[in-house]
Symmetry: C2
Subunit: 346 residues, 2 copies
Amino acid sequence: MKATFMYGAGDVRVIEVPDPRIVEPTDAIVRVVRGCICGSDLHPFHSLRASETGQHMGHEAIGVIEDVGADVRTLAKGDFVIIPFHLQDNTCAFCREGVHTSCIHGGWLAGGQGEALRLIQADGSAVKVPGVNPDTADDALLGSLLTLSDVYLTGWHAAFMGRVAPGKTVTVIGDGAVGLSAVLSAKEMGAERIILMGRHRVRTDLGREWGATHVVAARGAEGVAEVIELTGGEGSHVVLEAVGHMPAYEQAYGIVRPGGVISRVGVPQYEAASVGFGSLFGKNATLTGGPAPVRAYIDAAIPKVLNGEIDPGRVFDMTVGLDGVPAGYAAMDAREALKVMVDPTR
Amino acid sequence: MKATFMYGAGDVRVIEVPDPRIVEPTDAIVRVVRGCICGSDLHPFHSLRASETGQHMGHEAIGVIEDVGADVRTLAKGDFVIIPFHLQDNTCAFCREGVHTSCIHGGWLAGGQGEALRLIQADGSAVKVPGVNPDTADDALLGSLLTLSDVYLTGWHAAFMGRVAPGKTVTVIGDGAVGLSAVLSAKEMGAERIILMGRHRVRTDLGREWGATHVVAARGAEGVAEVIELTGGEGSHVVLEAVGHMPAYEQAYGIVRPGGVISRVGVPQYEAASVGFGSLFGKNATLTGGPAPVRAYIDAAIPKVLNGEIDPGRVFDMTVGLDGVPAGYAAMDAREALKVMVDPTR
């Protein structure tokens, strides 16, 4: 079967690999119905050290169960499922506390940009979608369900950890698919004002449709000054940082209000950063966030997609077959595409 | 009158200065009944650059109102008051949100280690203590009231921002007066287990009396390993960091549980620190804290002191007159004293 591997920065290849097979009795094999390319895939696309083994790509997928291990209790061949980008038993102490991304039996999904994948901890990981036939459902519905695997619920996680609530001013840094999902989530949570920092008109227009009340195109000190002015000199109660680069972090502590919260979901491309009196401590700012425990939020999100309350799949503006995956990476990297869906049936 | 100034690292002098006077109509003049030396005073005691003007010391005090400006409405000569280490109008947007340390008209108290001081924003800053005569009250009561000016409520702030609650495991880093106050506060908030990291027996004994269930004397990687073992490999839900030096911060992210909270109240002696995937982000740890908005907590704390529910003044184990202030700094620096009370009437 075909799968996507990255062999170094900019070097994405779709290759022939052996079909996945059950290894542990808690495994399942999933035929991928749709996968996609993540904004976070662009980080290794820029910086991955070259290797001969490569890195198996694709951590977002919806699919159909093809086979299950002997210990799998809740899934059967033919079930249509959403697979979170982080896999978990959904029973350990951390899962019970809602931090599934730290599951003691967990791991990261790989293989979503291919024809099929091996799923560990299948019972705890895959979430069945009732009443949808993936072979006849339209791409809009499939796309929205696919965002529950990562991107929309990563935006939701940002807003949830940022304690967005009615009356709050929320600033979202980044107009990528996660940033826009954070706008949508902040709106759902009742934010009073949502300032979207981004400069790509087609993206910020979707952000406005989803609830952004202001768009700030400026960056750096100029962007900070503009947000401070928009907030009457006081700063933003909540800042959702959906980029992961240092300038975004610096913007975040520049605009956060005293006593406010910076919630990061962009995977930080730095380890050390300012946290002292001049950045976070002096104004009692809180820094939170991390990889989204999608499994904690997915059950509540599925009905909202099925009943049309939200349409997070609108972040997809390009679809490729497996052979088009390398071109999909290039298009996202060049910002010609916001988010690329991968349809292995094409 | 006499006041304490620091002219450089290790150079503390009690000098003769002009009596303070009303400058703004919102000012008051306070005769200091008791002041004290703060653990955070040891930071400049180690590193203050030498100067001829010096730094006016003492940001904790209880005292009696001697004079008030024309616009002061709630205070009168003779009132016995607690003065928070940060002064504020108690009416601005940030004060209303409980972040008084960011008050737009605020400032830091100075002069607590002297005979009298000028208080800005007197109505918003000074808090009257009803029914106590400071000239006849015993030192135990005065000491406990004095801790509401900073140290006890700084420990409270740590626990409050750390969202300490019943069922939680809380680790306190630092057995200084703030760390011990954090233990007491965590106990009041119902923490199930309180691990105190400290190595000074007389201090950790007070910590045990106040609610610490475990004491860990080891530091660094060894200390981290011990706390991880104590928590069944899972880590501490809440870490209260009451030191401010980098090794304490590193311990904090080493022992915090996935999804847990690090709450800092030790003034950070660093600006940059680890916050990336390997420290905070990967395990969805939250970093919070800052200078304590004492004014937000003081009204609720006064009755607890007056009715004997808490006795935070037990952190004082040495009392000096004004002439003894330099010796008090030396004793705290040498860890011969936990916290030094200054009695200007001696």
